[in-house]
Amino acid sequence: MKKTGSQILLECLRLEGVDTVFGYPGGTVINIYDDLMDSPIKHILNRHEQAAVHAADGYARATGKVGVAIATSGPGATNTVTGIATAYMDSIPMVIITGQVPTPLIGNDAFQEADMIGITRPITKHNYLVRDIKDLARIIKQAFYIARTGRPGPVLVDLPKDIQMATHKFEYPDKVELRGYKPNYSGNSRQIEKAIKMILAARKPVIYVGGGAALSNSNLELKQFAETIQAPLTMTLMGLSSFPNTHPLSLGMLGMHGTYHANMAVTDSDLLIAIGARFDDRVTGKIATFAPHAKIIHIDIDPTSIKKNVRVDLPIVGDLKDVLKKMLEQLAEYDAQVATLRDELAPWRAKIEVWKKEQPLGYKSSKKEIKPQFVIEKLCELSDEDAIITTEVGQHQMWTAQFYDFIQPRTFLTSGGLGTMGYGLPAALGAQAAFPTRQVIDISGDGSFQMNSQELATLVQYRLPVKIAILNNNFLGMVRQWQQLFFNRRYSQTCMELPIDFKKLAEAYGATGLQATTPDEVEAVIKQAFATPGPVIMEFKVCREENVLPMVPAGAGINEMVLAS
């Protein structure tokens, strides 16, 4: 039986196991939306296409499945750009379907035409313009395959309206054949053997974990690896939640706002084992003084990440899960040496413990004012262990990274690479859609919240009980911090002059609004929010000019931190 292009699309999505899509209708996707009424796939109507893409992204990060978003051509499609770039920078598997003007009109500056293939080429893993209905099923199959395999990433499929309306026999290919795309999953055994030798010879090793650990679902192997060799482990912003931060081997986050002991340990280390990380400038600081004494082992599925920013002594290309498993197997053969290694590393662990005692993460507590760090600590204390936390971008994001102890994998969703304000709320929405019964909390600043606050409507409409904690400092805090430290306190355009009544805003959408203005109200507000069904905004009037510390000034080495005390 023949099907229309839009039916074929939806059938393909169903066969790919898609249960929920996020999107926004318009003229060039109206056929898809019509057929959606007859499809088992659930559609969530966001209030902005950027939010739809972030929601699909949050869904993907929380579940590990491919997130799907739909937008119409022209403005709908261009609204997706920030969402796509956000997912691309953090390697999130997604398929974005955009409507396009009918093929005969392409190139004519038709109404609501935008060259999405051109616009998204540098921010997608791959993209397709479907020019013939015969290719549609194959392209959708390939899009999902490319999105989820290798180093994952977003794939955009631009689907002209006439193709959606055309008819063709539907056959879903069962195999994908791409002669130019064969990601290498299996780590080279000889390289792994060399790595084991280097590890056994190390006296000051540090494991440095990035977002790849979550993407490859290798948190268990990672834990086993760290425990086997008893080596300290530090995480990037994207690595957080892949290893329990309460674990004695955890050094917390490294880099610009990393812990003192993590940055000192990396600087002093003799072996850095990089696992699914990419040596981003926020992590390395000044390259010349980054881990100057260390040999570097770099394990990554993407060869382009290796030796891009730093020299590497031993590259291992492969899936982390595969490589870590092989490393564990080989380590098992060196039982005695591994036992010796564990003992030999005792002085190293002790040295790090001293750094940690000297300069623990901390802040000056206050009885009068609400300290933002205190709110994060309370949220951590009062939330469930499997709660999913999302953030926006700014100081609140860094405090969350520092003061919230993530235990379970895929519980921390944040825009690491692009640093997109407005990400957290729609991402929380997507995560909550995937896990309706888990706690999902967006930790936000007052600035970021207003970049996608319209999603309150979506939350209320779909009964998604996301809890939103706004650390309201009435500033674009992170930029204000830079202005304070590097621009003589000239607060150019960072003071949000207009105080917002967030309680009323919540109520306008049919959500609940709560407010805490003193430290002793904090706990009660959080408890009340968690006990309240449906979405809740908790507004915390926090101390306005608090800074995120430690801080490595731009261009400095990561051991040159501005410290809290």
Binding site: P122, H126, R179
Partner: protein
Amino acid sequence: MKHTISVLVENEFGVLPRVSGLFSGRGFNIESLSVAPTIDPTISRMTIVTSGDERILEQINKQLNKLIDVIKVIDFTGQDYTEREMGLIKVNAEESTRAEVLRIVDIFRAKVVDVTQSSYTVEVTGAPGKIDAVVELLRPMGIKELIRSGPVVLGRGAKGWKTQ
């Protein structure tokens, strides 16, 4: 240092901007780029002349390989290969200079492919250095227009590229 890279790509819609966009987006140089289909019509072959240090070349190679439509990449630097470029040069040919132009054409085994009362169009093929030389020698006569194809290369020996 200069590098000549051959890239086999899917002969797909929009593949050229994927490659050129990669170079511009990441700040890599392109000195020349030529592209045309191969004996297999589903595959095109690009020859790219670029420059950079070892680290940059490694990135260029890896980044090209990362593109879904790229099937194979070969950096010919340090390998045995044949390199050819074509130049078409429209040069003034007045009474007084015609003979000299023809002499140069003859020496370089070039060809005159178009003649008017005041000009010759010279076709010259060879290694890029040979084209440079002809251009330099013709320059005093007055070059009206010049186009170069950019080099194309093929490895020496009996072995061809496997694409599967």
